[in-house]
Amino acid sequence: MAQAIAKSDYTGAAHAPAKPTFGLFARPTAKTGLVGWLTTVDHKKIGMLYGGFAILFFLIGGIEALLIRTQLLVPNNRFISAQLYNELFTMHGTTMIFLAVMPLNAAFFNLLVPIQVGARDVAFPRLNSFSLWVWVVGAILLNVGWISHFVPAWDFGGAPDVGWFGYAPLTSKQFTPDLSTDFWVLGIQLLGLSSIVASLNFIVTIINMRAPGLTMMRLPVFTWMALVTSFLLILALPAIAIALVEVMFDRNFGTNFFEVSGGGQPILWQHLFWVFGHPEVYILILPPMGYVSEILPTFSRKPLFGYPIVVFSGVAIGFIGFGVWSHHMFTTGMGTIATAAFALATMAIAVPTGVKVFNWIGTLWGGRIVTRVPMMFALGFIWMFMLGGLSGIMHSAAPADAQQQDSYFVIAHFHYVLIGGATFALLAAIHFWFPKFFGRMVPEFWGKLSFWLIFVGFNVTFFPMHFLGLNGMPRRTWTYDANMGWNEGNFFATMGAYLLGVGIFTYFAVLVWSFFKGKVAGNDPWDARTLEWSIPSPPPEHNFAAIPTVHARDAWWYEKTHKEEIAKEKAEHIKAEESHGGIHMPDQSWYPLIAAAGLLIGAYNAAQLKHPVVMFGNQLLSSHIPLAIAGGVILLLACYLWSLEGPGGYHIHLDAEGNATESRGGYHH
């Protein structure tokens, strides 16, 4: 027991060595300022960076959506060109999925998971920092094409324009000869790498770093969903990684994977893409189901109804999610057996999802419901997500789906799931945990106002799209004729989109105001249930003065009602830990950032491998190969030095008042 409590370290390896280690230069120790952020290994800071970047891209993706809606405001509009329209819908989808919702979920994994399992950091802190910076590199590569619109000398052919699922053979050299597709391929590839590495880290953290007493069936539902999502990521992303490699080879090295003239079959891309793409849908929605499962009990003042079945349903969704991919391909002529099998699997996956909805309703039932802002968004989530689920079930009937395929009905469906579902839950989560990580409350009135603007704006935008789709309006259409009967629907949708934009703006403007001027929040403003509310707001670097012992599912509710027992336990834990040298914290490092920089240089040049390097009109090199290799060498060297540097670490000692002092270099047993 004493050993488990004194598990001072997130790696399970030896303590900070006294002797000098392999190292090229001194490790960074700055905790504030630019160096502090660039070299941080603190899961909370990494979470903040993920969150900040994700919100930035969420707003960019939103502006792209508003431009799309403006183009569709009236028939025969010429507000933007058809080419720009293609780039906008491609980048809107790619941005919202890979650069907004996924990293926002990653932000919450980082912020919450280590605290909810009662640990001081993730299992591999430097690897965590690497995931973040690789994600940034992927985001840069995806968006670098926009430069072409402003600086014609950087001729990337604009932003990617092949649609977010980049169907073959549209991605072949013949149809998109410019570089935008090459940047899309490598950008997605690196985002996948980032997600796999981060997921491996969270799998180990959740399974291996649970505090004493925290059995798997006592884990908060959010942490459970983070675990399931991580498994989905490591198992689903390889399919698209290989598919992207095949596209890259087709484009650059003359292979024939999707080249019909060479015997390739474009349908293979669709299968490989959706083998990833459908689990991806659950990767987007399972963490939001986790947030809601945390928020609903807190504001219903009773424990989550049917915890085991909610967890089991999440796992079941993860499993079945791998067996439904071809329902995206009902119109490709797969044959009756395959079509029937995938239709049945798709109907089956609605069962665990429905079970979850009933359990959330069961949680509300008979509870003393407190309608604070996070609760409003969570309730909105249940309702809107259910509407998206209902239209989703309609798609599982293959004959009906054949009518809906590639129409605005599908657009309506997945925006109900991704905005009404994922985004509502994320907005609930941001509001709910804002006081924890910034120490300030968001004003109730402005929060509720933004909720109603978003709720109304969202429904006005997307509800008419059901009718537009059933009336035959195809998705991805640049414009339409006035006599199609689509005028009113589109007009409503665009007005709704503007209202939604105002709502989102209000939401984030209020957050910025609250960051500076909000009422100071205590440790536990919502009287919540999980461990993060037991520590100060914002949490100290080491999270816990004493590693908690978990006695119940709602660990913090238990602590609040068993104060004496817990105080005694904590005093013992602090003593045990101090006798082992204090609280062990991981050291910062430059190498994850340098490795990511190597990847940036390597991938940026690999995307334009065979093009000459031109600067100010002069050709410097006949190809980008040497530069791509240089990037690879930087990556390799950084990994080598990283591995030799070791986890390092230092100790924090707390006095009776909880003030921290640090010590370095002691070698303890």
Binding site: Q3, A4, A6, K7, D9, Y10, T11, G12, A13, A14, H15, K19, P20, T21, F22, G23, L24, A123, F124, I196, S199, L200, N201, I203, V204, I207, N208, M209, R210, L214, I234, L235, A236, L237, P238, A239, A241, I242, A243, V245, E246, F249, F253, G254, T255, N256, F257, G262, G263, G264, Q265, L268, L272, V275, H580, Y640, S643, L644, H668, H669
Partner: protein, 277 residues
Amino acid sequence: MSSHAAAGPIDHHHDHTTATGIPNKKLLWWAFLASDCMFFGTLISTHLVYRLNPPPGNAVPTQVFNIELTSFSTFILLMSSLLMALAVNAIQRGNVKSTRVMLLGTMFFGCIFLGGQVYEFAHFVHAKKMTLSNSIFGSTFYTLTGTHGTHVAIGVLLLGMMYVRTFKPTSGNGLLRNFAHLTAVCVVMGVSFISFVPGMIEVIYGLPLGEFLSHHAVPLSVGVAAFIAVLWFGRTSGTVEFGEQNAGDVEAIGLYWHFVDIVWIIIFTAVYLLEYL
């Protein structure tokens, strides 16, 4: 794995600092291998899909393959797994010297396999006229087996880093020495699989030894020089940090190495053997 346990005998099967008793690094590798299964699964599926739906004019596998050579290098790769297991066993007994020998042996066997692949690829391209781009079979075959070969090469590099690490002295920095040592090991292994092993295979197939030596004079002499450097760096002097407490690290790399071998058994069966049914 933790220094807390260093007081008593080290328990190689249970880590008291984690919730499950599995060391974090080992669990990370296991999870990664699960992910890697899907990478290979996708590649093998691609290969089989196109093998079962070949376009007209596709390469005929049995006319391209050299099944005797591939069987031989498969056997060598499986034997490297035995050496890897012996390396793990040696370090669990705290025998650093034996660990080093077994690591080098594993790496060299890996290089024989890679050399076989280098010979095979060159032979397929030059003699059998099957390239990456002139048939779909070439596209899927080279991508699949090339990815596997890359895995073996990364394994050799990781083992090389582990091998060099066993020399880290208990005091002093030694970064430059480590780097030079690793470079020498990499050069020896690189020359082995790019030049030495494929050349030796050609000698077995009838190339006169003198011609082989004169063709490969430059890489072979660089390799010999690097080999002497490895021997020189490998002189044992002073105490080293590496020991029984690092068994978990060696075992973790071992997991990867065995996994890559198992994947090869599947590839060898699906891509090569089934063609001869």
